[in-house]
């Protein structure tokens, strides 16, 4: 592999093989990263990117191959060694202690001390100054359990920086960030790079790869497929290398220019004058921290319309959707589906009235990971699959076979636990359950988060189909291009309110971005 040769690499991994039982996650993986560069590691779900990075961070010992960091052979080292050598990893699934504060989490393992005690006061000061320096803003005294996913992500990065990471590995960091946050992250990474730091970025999003990286390594099926210099490479080249075929990229349309994207609103069949299917009137909702997360908010969704909510995570989107779904109490206001007032109706009653909900955290809320695919496909509708309290297992099985085929859930084995599936296929279970039945309003929160390119294509097609069939959809996504591509109208949520609601055809990403940060209020 002479093409990877360079004199002094920050990271050089050669011929890495790593198997878990019968599963070979890495079969012949190479990675070569020069010091002071931002290196993108791309590939579909299950391509072996995370495993390779865990080998680098000392979490797994490779079965074969060598790992060099700063020209020193460190094959098979432990996490402590990696941290001591300045290699820090930010994981896709957070590794934080929810009951501790942000500052306590950041210092965990290397606490500043005052005598025998942990100097918590100094910890807070240090963490706050690190926040300022790095541009990653979090309340150092907040409990991690109360943070939004995006904020928790920032804590993870802070944790690595606090440990003096010079080589920072980020596993899909932007999956949970909004565009301004992503831009902030790029600023952080570029500053780190200017400081002589090295960054390896695992991501699905090709526009990000182009925007921020210097070099790109593409993996497929556990192997390194190709390596590009970012300059002169198009998203299409990368996508082809990733999946080994041409892919329909919705992102293509916007990746180059953050300009106006006219969605296919004209396809919508419903008359614009139709009565709203969802009417939210003056609702206020509290967050877990006791602050007002949603503040006197009103809006309507008409049949055949997708209302997209753009906004930085933690501005009340989560609480808004939970309140509509009946999972969180409202302080005031009302929610009506068609002409039915939800009032204090239960989650189940709302579902029976025609409300579907794709929750933002499928592993915590959307699925019971140890239940089979078949059992997960009836969650929330269990009362319709049986009589007199007994479950009709035959009907559950038939339903599973139908939905698995219709929504292309793989592997097509309804008896497998949901846990065994890839992220994209897990999401398809949720989509199949919520969209494969009668409904009039769909709440879709982060429907494509952490899902690979092929599944994104599929999920977007399903959402468009539902819209064209006259359903009302409330879409919340941290992925601004997704909101732009799917929505008919876009609302920007900031501080618990809609600061603006615009027809999507009149929106640009730049303009929304300034609303999202509160700059244009």
């Amino acid at each position: 592999m002479t093409m990877f040769a360079s004199n002094a690499s920050a990271i050089r991994m050669t011929g890495v093989v790593k198997a878990f039982g019968a599963v070979v996650a890495n079969r012949d993986a190479f990675l070569d990263v020069a010091p002071g560069e931002i290196h993108a590691l791309v590939g579909e779900n299950g391509a072996g990117k995370s495993t390779l990075m865990r080998v680098l961070a000392g979490m797994y010992a490779p079965d074969a191959g060598t790992v060099q960091v700063n020209s020193k052979n460190v094959t098979g080292w432990k996490t402590q060694d990696a941290i001591a050598a300045g290699v820090g990893m930010v994981h896709q699934h957070f590794m934080l202690v929810p009951t501790l504060t942000v500052a306590e989490n950041v210092i965990l393992g290397m606490e500043p001390r005052k005598g025998m005690q942990v100097d918590l006061h100094r910890a807070v000061i240090e963490v706050e100054s690190l926040c300022r320096k790095s541009g990653l803003h979090v309340d150092a005294k907040a409990k991690v359990a109360d943070l939004s996913v995006g904020e928790a992500q920032r804590v993870e990065i802070l944790k690595a920086l606090y440990r003096g990471a010079k080589i920072l590995i980020l596993d899909e960091p932007t999956a949970v960030l909004s565009p301004p946050e992503v831009r902030d992250l790029w600023t952080v990474l570029r500053a780190l790079k200017a400081d002589g730091g090295t960054v390896v970025l695992i991501t699905h999003k090709l526009d990000e790869v182009i925007a921020v990286s210097d070099t790109i390594t593409v993996m497929r099926g556990g192997m390194t497929i190709s390596r590009f210099a970012t300059e002169g490479t198009t998203p299409r080249d990368i996508a082809r290398a990733m999946v080994g075929r041409d892919v329909q990229l919705h992102l293509d349309a916007q990746s180059g220019a953050d300009t106006c994207v006219a969605p296919a609103a004209t396809e919508s069949t419903a008359a614009p004058s139709a009565l709203p299917v969802l009417r939210v009137t003056n609702i206020s909702v509290m967050s877990d921290r006791g602050t007002r997360a949603v503040n006197d908010l009103s809006f309507e969704i008409r049949p055949g319309e997708i209302l997209g909510i753009a906004g930085v995570e933690g501005n009340g989107q989560t609480e808004l959707l939970e309140a509509i779904a009946g999972l969180r109490a409202m302080q005031s206001g009302s929610v009506q589906l068609s002409s039915q007032d939800f009032g204090t109706r239960s989650v189940r009653e709302r579902a029976d009235l025609g409300l579907s909900h794709i929750p933002e955290d499928r592993q915590r809320r959307g699925l019971i990971l140890d239940y089979s695919i078949a059992d997960n496909l009836v969650l929330g509708r269990q009362q319709h699959f049986g009589s007199f309290g007994a479950l009709d297992t035959a009907r559950i099985a038939i339903n599973a076979v139908e939905q698995v085929r219709r929504f292309d859930i793989r592997p097509a084995m309804p008896s497998l636990p949901a846990r065994a599936l890839s992220g994209g296929n897990q999401q398809k279970i949720v989509i199949a359950r919520e969209m494969g039945r009668e409904f009039s309003v769909l709440l879709a929160a982060q429907p494509t988060r952490g899902v690979d390119v092929g599944a994104i294509e599929f999920i977007h097609a399903q959402l468009r189909l539902a819209r064209n069939a006259g359903k009302g959809i409330l879409l919340v996504s941290a992925d601004l291009p997704e909101v732009l591509a799917l929505s008919d109208r876009i609302a920007v949520m900031y501080g618990g309110r809609f600061v603006t609601v615009l027809p999507a055809a009149q929106c640009t990403a730049e303009q929304l971005g300034s609303y999202m940060t509160g700059a244009a209020v």
């Binding site: 878990f20 599963v23 097509a412």
Partner: protein, 393 residues
């Protein structure tokens, strides 16, 4: 880990031919079933094997031959009808308390209060048995007493259930404390109002006695085995059906696995917790019938004798599966009775130690086996993806 372990893509290059896919699926499903069965039976077997090894060492340290002692143990339990009867009698109570623990456990609740619920159930049965008019036919009296035992047990279970559902109070602490309260209250009421002078027990019941097995099968003569065991087995079957074949069971298990997802799925989580604790208490209470109506005919202070706590071990070894619990109850019943059988040559505490070893071994083996199971499931998926990929290339 998720992306690495599940290895594969949802946008595989192309679907393999239909025929092949079906074949792959069926082998995959068979593999999954085999693995699941292995996961069910392996931990108890590992536990038994380690108990045997520790037992050997202990027996050797007493200067006896393990083979002699184990032969005595088997002969004294499964070697004759009386021994079998005694094992069945002990297993009956343990099955009830084991089921009680397992049902709560499936809902993510740790019911350590079976001891108190068991005693309360026995008291309820005894009280009704003495109050019913003498000569009430068994067909009426037994079901009524059974109902009384279960209702009183459920009542005791309802307390931690309600406190958990309403205030989020830890059911672990509440059930532990409630054991003391319930047992002390029963002792007080029995010793101050109801006992027969010079004894620690109540008046004998006049109706609702459960017939002994010996009444139908003479060979069991002398043993305490009685037809309460039929109720225990029925309770296991109904528990299985409830857990795995009813909507309530589906919701109960969902609450235990992922309460947030259950809530999202329209389950009223606090209600499920309350109902589950009541059912759990009822199952433990049912166990009280075995001693009171099946054996002695009266409530006696301290009759539970730790069977409530041993139910935790039964639940663990039985993997919280109703049928596994029947097996585990027989195992612990055997060890308990076996202690008496070997007492002549080694201290009967030997079997107490074996019981403890089994519990420890299972506590270690179960999480390990579960981990293996998850990895195995991931393997099945990965194999599917790999085959799909190989087919195309």
């Amino acid at each position: 880990m998720s992306s690495g372990m599940s290895g594969g893509t949802s946008t595989g290059p192309a679907a393999p031919p239909c025929e092949q896919q079906r074949k792959m699926q069926s082998t995959g499903e068979v593999r999954a079933i085999v693995q699941r069965l292995a996961g069910g039976f392996l931990p108890p077997l590992v536990a038994l094997a380690s108990a045997a090894v520790v037992g050997d060492l202990l027996i050797l340290s007493f200067g006896e031959a393990p083979s002699t002692v184990f032969r005595l143990l088997v002969e004294g339990t499964w070697g004759n009808a009386y021994g079998i009867g005694q094992v069945l009698y002990k297993a009956t109570t343990l099955a009830c308390t084991g089921l009680a623990f397992a049902l709560a456990s499936r809902a993510g609740l740790f019911n350590i209060g079976a001891e108190g619920q068991l005693a309360a159930g026995g008291f309820g049965a005894a009280l009704l048995g003495t109050l019913l008019p003498a000569g009430t036919p068994g067909l009426i009296a037994v079901p009524l007493c059974l109902l009384a035992a279960m209702l009183v047990g459920a009542g005791v279970g309802a307390v931690p259930g309600a406190l958990r559902a309403k205030f989020g109070a830890s059911e672990v602490i509440v059930t532990i404390m409630l054991n003391f309260i319930v047992l002390a209250f029963l002792n007080w009421i029995v010793s101050s109002k109801l006992r027969v002078p010079e004894t620690l027990h109540t008046l004998p019941v006049v109706a609702g006695m459960v017939p002994r097995l010996a009444d139908s099968f003479a060979a069991f003569r002398g043993s305490a085995a009685n037809f309460t065991i039929v109720f225990a087995v029925l309770a296991a079957v109904v528990s299985w059906w409830y857990l795995f074949r009813t909507r309530s069971g589906y919701e109960l298990r969902a609450v235990g696995l992922q309460p947030d997802a259950a809530e999202y799925g329209g389950v009223r989580v606090p209600r499920v917790m309350l109902v589950t604790m009541c059912l759990s208490g009822a199952l433990a209470g049912l166990g009280g019938m075995n001693f009171v109506l099946g054996y002695k005919g009266y409530y006696e202070e301290g009759f539970a004798g730790g069977a409530g706590f041993l139910g935790i071990a039964v639940g663990l070894v039985g993997r919280n599966h109703p049928f596994g619990i029947l097996g585990a109850a027989l195992l612990f019943g055997t060890l308990s009775q076996g202690g008496l059988a070997v007492n002549a040559i080694v201290p009967k505490q030997l079997t107490d130690i074996l019981t403890a070893v089994v519990i420890l071994a299972v506590a270690v083996a179960v999480p390990e086996v579960q981990k293996q199971l998850r990895a195995a499931a991931a393997n099945v998926t990965a194999a599917f993806y790999r085959d799909a990929r190989n087919d195309v290339s």
